[in-house]
């Protein structure tokens, strides 16, 4: 009889990929913008789950931060994408974006996120300008190893979004902030971040350390903005 020999080694697991939404809930988001953001993220859950299911070697875990006057966890527990649900955000207050980055940074320490993790993805959605010390928050984030190595996407909502601040957050000249001037674009960009960006981050090839100019994960081109009536623009 042939012996069955136990595979050497202890427990195995796919590699965790932590995905963070950072959502602006300031007063200027009140009304259609926050409603459309809630709709867009909820609408992207199924495609996001499908992308994750296509790569069983990555375990996608989702969290969300909301920021207005202060920043709080909207989804505090890292939630497997299969169980990810979205409760509606409401809008009120100012735009403490820097505090949101600090909150995210607390989770991007190697003590919280071991080395075998895949690069985390941070998607920042905002319609305005920070009212707190954005640079301080960004510095805190970038002082964390996983903060520096994270894939950062910025989506501006409407004409008043501070694209310069979003570009600083992204920190990669090859990736521009996306400006959603209408509901259709917002849905499109949220879906792109939830699927295309997630897919790229979940199966990254090795990158040579000294040759990483455009981030540790090459990000495919975002979809173009829609060509729609001026009446529909935020």
């Amino acid at each position: 009889m042939t012996d069955i020999i136990k595979r050497p080694g202890g427990a195995m697991a796919n590699r965790p990929l932590h995905f963070f939404w950072l959502a602006d809930c300031s007063g200027s988001m009140y009304g259609e913008k926050i409603e459309q953001l809630n709709y867009a993220i909820r609408n992207a859950i199924k495609p996001m789950q499908d992308v994750a299911a296509d790569n069983p070697n990555a375990q996608v875990m989702v969290r969300a931060i909301k920021f207005s006057t202060g920043a709080q966890w909207h989804i505090a527990q890292a939630t497997p994408v299969e169980d990810f649900k979205w409760d509606n955000l409401t809008a009120n207050g100012v735009t403490d974006m820097g505090l949101a980055l600090q909150l995210a940074a607390e989770q991007l320490d190697v003590t919280q996120m071991p080395e075998r993790c895949l690069p985390p993805v941070l998607v920042l959605v905002s319609d305005g300008q920070p009212t707190d010390d954005f640079n301080d928050g960004l510095n805190t984030l970038m002082n964390k190893p996983w903060g520096r190595k994270s894939v950062r996407i910025g989506i501006g909502i409407g004409q008043d979004a501070d694209l310069e601040v979003l570009q600083k957050f992204i920190g990669n000249p090859e990736i521009r902030p996306l400006q959603a001037n209408n509901a259709e674009d917002l849905v499109k960009y949220i879906r792109w971040a939830s699927t295309v960006v997630l897919q790229a981050a979940s199966a990254p090839a090795s990158q040579v350390k000294d040759q990483v100019s455009g981030g540790v994960v090459p990000i495919p081109q975002a979809p173009p903005a829609s060509d729609i009536d001026a009446d529909d623009v935020w």
């Binding site: 012996d3 020999i5 136990k6 595979r7 050497p8 080694g9 202890g10 427990a11 195995m12 697991a13 796919n14 590699r15 296509d54 790569n55 069983p56 070697n57 990555a58 190697v110 071991p114 080395e115 075998r116 993790c117 895949l118 690069p119 190893p145 996983w146 190595k149 199966a203 990254p204 090839a205 090795s206 990158q207 040579v208 350390k209 000294d210 040759q211 990483v212 540790v216 994960v217 090459p218």
Partner: protein, 266 residues
Amino acid sequence: MNWHIIGDTVRGASHKRSDKPNQDAWAFSQNDTCTVLAVADGHGSSKHTHSEIGAQLAVQVALTLLNDFAHADKGEDSRQIKQAADYLPSQIVQAWRAAVDNADNGATENPKDRYSLYGSTLIAALISTEYVLYLQIGDGDLLVLTDDGQLQHPLPKNIGLIANETFSLCEAKAIYHFELALQFFNHKPTPALIFLATDGYANSFTDQAEFHQAVEDFQQQIATHGADKIQHCLADWLDETSEQGSGDDVTVTMMFPSVAQEQPAE
């Protein structure tokens, strides 16, 4: 002392899904003077489209140069051997680049772009009657089990390499990113097992302890079942590891004194 070698490499589960080749390589050589073992991991991103060839060239270059190193007459002086070892990183990088130039056959004009296309890591071990030499550039693992069951890392760990970043033979400053250790047996006992693996293996375990358990288990199972049996099982185990773990290409190889194997019980 005679050294027995087992090893295998498998195409990663994610590479199968995306129709990419296995970009890892491994090789060994043995003669009366020394045994040399090497693994390499081609980088695989869009900038490194020929990295599976670069990895093959890396292990072949390592075998040739380390074999030459062991055969060179250094007058039995450990100081001279150490001095000669310091030149190995630059010799390996030069030889690898020459091998890439030859393989590329003029297809890529810019040398920087050319070497990048073939980018790869390299880990190698050379063992002779007097010493063992370890070297590494880039990610992956080199572990040593001693006779008294201690698991050691003879080379310092690369600090700050996370998120799939690695050092590479293709870098302009590659020689500065080599780690090298030379241990003479008059100061240190001979290893009981030398284990080399690409990063797809360790990344498949939940943590370092579970990975280290694998190295200890290999030694135990070789002693219990014999090396041939373990070699026979290895590819299936590595396939399972990639599928349930990292999804990356996985290469594992190890050498151990032939006396370490017992006859398996019938």
